[in-house]
């Protein structure tokens, strides 16, 4: 087990560095002049220009810029934003709470809705409930998260105004109310997707010979479904939950824009629009790191659940 985990960790570190180089290089391909985005297009003297370049590390070579960025990452210094002229870490420290809470709330919804619904619909295959759930999930899978968000906004402002539809609250608990609709619209697609995956895996497991054995032994249907089949279907379900988190990191950019939330996703969208690349590269790298850590966690869980995985 130790070998298995350490192998995964080493892989993660290598991939992380390659990804950071990739992000760094791609972001710098942008045809826009960084000085122009710092000064917002105003004309300036040569001295100011040079001073600005020094201030933002732009006078260094690409390699120098890369190492000062990646070195700073470990000290919590991610460089300075072009458009806000503030340290990126300060910008993030204000905004990360909203995004983390948004993604966490959506994850809770996915785990507590998608998996039980998938299991139920597999256990009652082809029943009316199953068919209704399948059709509903198909519609939600095909609805872009920002459109779900817009519909929810309309519904909860015009018809049933119990949830606020934009902005954020002051602390964690009041935020729960503000972030409810955004997290529903972020989770809707993923719930539908996870439910379908859970259902198809459960259906497959319930047809396996060991289920017949269990039935022949006289175990109750409940034990068979929840203890035997669900355990065996767990690996694909966990994989798809990790993918859900990846999808939500991308989706949060859209949802935060719809609900005008002051989170990391909207900052990312904003930074791309203004070609503020210290912000773009840092946020992307952090999100990729979060995703990679989720995958690592899932990989380790595989090893715990299924001993066969540890061997290769």
């Amino acid at each position: 087990m130790f070998r298995y985990v350490s192998k995964r960790v080493i892989q993660l570190v290598i991939v992380f560095f390659i990804v950071s180089i990739l992000i760094f290089a791609v972001v710098r391909m942008t045809p826009l002049d960084p000085i122009a985005s710092i000064s917002k297009g105003k004309a300036m003297s040569e001295e100011t220009r040079l001073a600005l370049m020094r201030e933002y590390d732009l006078d260094k070579s690409w390699a120098g810029q890369y190492f000062s960025w990646i070195g700073g990452l470990f000290r919590g210094d991610l460089g300075k934003s072009f458009q806000y002229r503030e340290a990126v870490s300060d910008l993030l420290s204000v905004r990360y709470k909203t995004s983390v809470q948004l993604v966490a709330m959506s994850t809770v919804m996915i785990v507590f809705l998608a998996i039980p619904l998938g299991v139920i619909s597999a256990a009652h295959k082809n029943s009316l409930l199953d068919q209704t759930l399948t059709v509903t999930s198909l519609v939600f899978v095909s609805s872009p998260p920002f459109f779900t968000g817009i519909l929810l906004m309309l519904l909860f402002t015009m018809v049933w105004p119990i949830f606020p539809t934009f902005g954020t609250g002051s602390d964690f608990w009041s935020n729960m109310k503000y972030l409810f609709l955004p997290s529903v619209s972020l989770a809707a697609v993923r719930i539908a997707l996870s439910m379908r995956i859970t259902r198809s895996n459960m259906v497959e497991q319930l047809q396996a010979p060991y289920i017949q054995t269990a039935t022949a032994k006289g175990l109750s249907r409940r034990t068979i479904v929840y203890k035997h089949a669900l355990k065996n279907a767990a690996i694909p379900i966990m994989t798809v939950t990790a993918l859900d988190i990846s999808g939500m990191l991308g989706g949060s950019v859209l949802v935060e824009k719809v609900f005008s939330l002051n989170g990391v996703g909207s900052l990312l969208a904003d930074s791309i629009t203004k070609s503020d690349y210290p912000v773009t590269q840092s946020i992307t790298l952090i999100m990729v790191l979060v995703f990679m850590l989720c995958n690592l966690f899932v990989d380790i869980m595989y090893g715990i659940i299924d001993p066969r995985v540890r061997l290769d």
């Binding site: 990739l22 710098r28 826009l32 969208a269 070609s275 990679m292």
Partner: protein, 308 residues
């Protein structure tokens, strides 16, 4: 000739045209028809601004009303379908152009090229996909549809390449490939003329599914202002424009959104139908009762009353 025979043999056990697939095909045909013939059926130019008629609800001149600068919503929906479908097709064409050869070569030759490309795929897959597209768009310069299409095309390559590779790995060890090799066929000919037709069905299924996701992603890009730009009609970008007038005129945002859902749902159902039809192991064998009924029907058709 041979192909036809294979299909007719399949038709005995299953059909592509089940009711959901037929409905989805009809919806797809309507959407494609409207998109292709937009210049003929649209009542107005999609970018023509009639300021005096701005924000009109449903009137005789404008059936679905107009947007904030007086552009006809119906015409914009038709033209928007055009942009959306062309964009989606461009994205999946790009991904197939790169993914198919990469997967094929990696699977067929293996070795060092294979491991290099597969590591690249691993790295690309370690990004949340939309995020990779955002980074690429930031790099290429945002605000042009072509850049958004290239960025989104790239994110579908690794998945497709892996699929083709795994299919090729199975195919290349089959006896027919050995036979072709012994007849001194070139590798290229074996790959493109013989292996591709044998794994194309899975690729097509994946492509129809990807097309749906590509449409959603492109709409998301346009929604953020990274894709199709303002005056051009596109469902994603119309949604973004309509968002500003949600309380006064909700139809401006709802209709493009519903169009996106209709397109993607029908693509998904169609892809699902294709999967059931083309992957024989997924197809359910007819139950004994059904088989009996089918046999009876066939016999009656042949003019035999009782075959015993």
């Amino acid at each position: 000739m041979e192909k036809k025979k294979a299909f007719s043999a399949k038709r005995n056990t299953g059909t592509l045209f089940t009711i959901p697939v037929v409905i989805s095909l009809v919806i797809l045909c309507i959407i494609i028809f409207c998109a292709v013939f937009a210049p003929l059926i649209a009542p107005y130019d999609p970018v023509y601004q009639d300021i005096s008629a701005a924000h009109s609800g449903s009137t005789e001149a404008h059936i679905l009303g107009t947007d904030s600068v007086g552009r006809d919503l119906l015409s914009r929906l038709f033209y928007g379908g055009r942009t959306t479908i062309v964009g989606g097709l461009a994205i999946i064409s790009l991904s197939i152009l790169l993914g198919l050869p990469i997967g094929l070569f990696c699977g067929y030759y293996g070795g060092i090229i294979d491991s290099i490309f597969m590591r690249i795929c691993d790295i690309l897959l370690s990004f949340p996909s939309m995020l990779l597209a955002f980074v690429l768009v930031a790099g290429f310069g945002r605000g042009s549809m072509n850049n958004a299409i290239i960025a989104l095309g790239v994110i579908y390559v690794p998945g497709l390449a892996r699929l083709v590779r795994s299919l090729t790995l199975v195919e290349k060890n089959k006896i027919y490939v050995e036979a072709l090799r012994s007849m001194c066929y070139s590798d290229l000919r074996i790959m493109f003329v013989h292996i591709i037709p044998n794994c194309i069905s899975s690729v097509i299924i994946q492509l129809t599914l990807d097309m749906g996701y590509a449409v959603l992603d492109l709409a998301g890009m346009s929604f953020l202002g990274f894709g199709v730009q303002a005056p051009t009609a596109d469902w994603g970008n119309m949604l973004n424009e309509g968002r500003g007038y949600l309380m006064q005129q909700p139809m401006l945002a709802i209709l493009p959104g519903l169009c996106i859902i209709a397109l993607v749902v029908s693509l998904n159902i169609f892809s699902d139908g294709l999967y059931r039809y083309l992957e024989p192991q997924q197809r359910k064998l007819p139950t004994f009762k059904k088989y009996d009924r089918m046999r009876e029907k066939a016999l009656r058709k042949a003019g035999v009353k009782n075959d015993e």
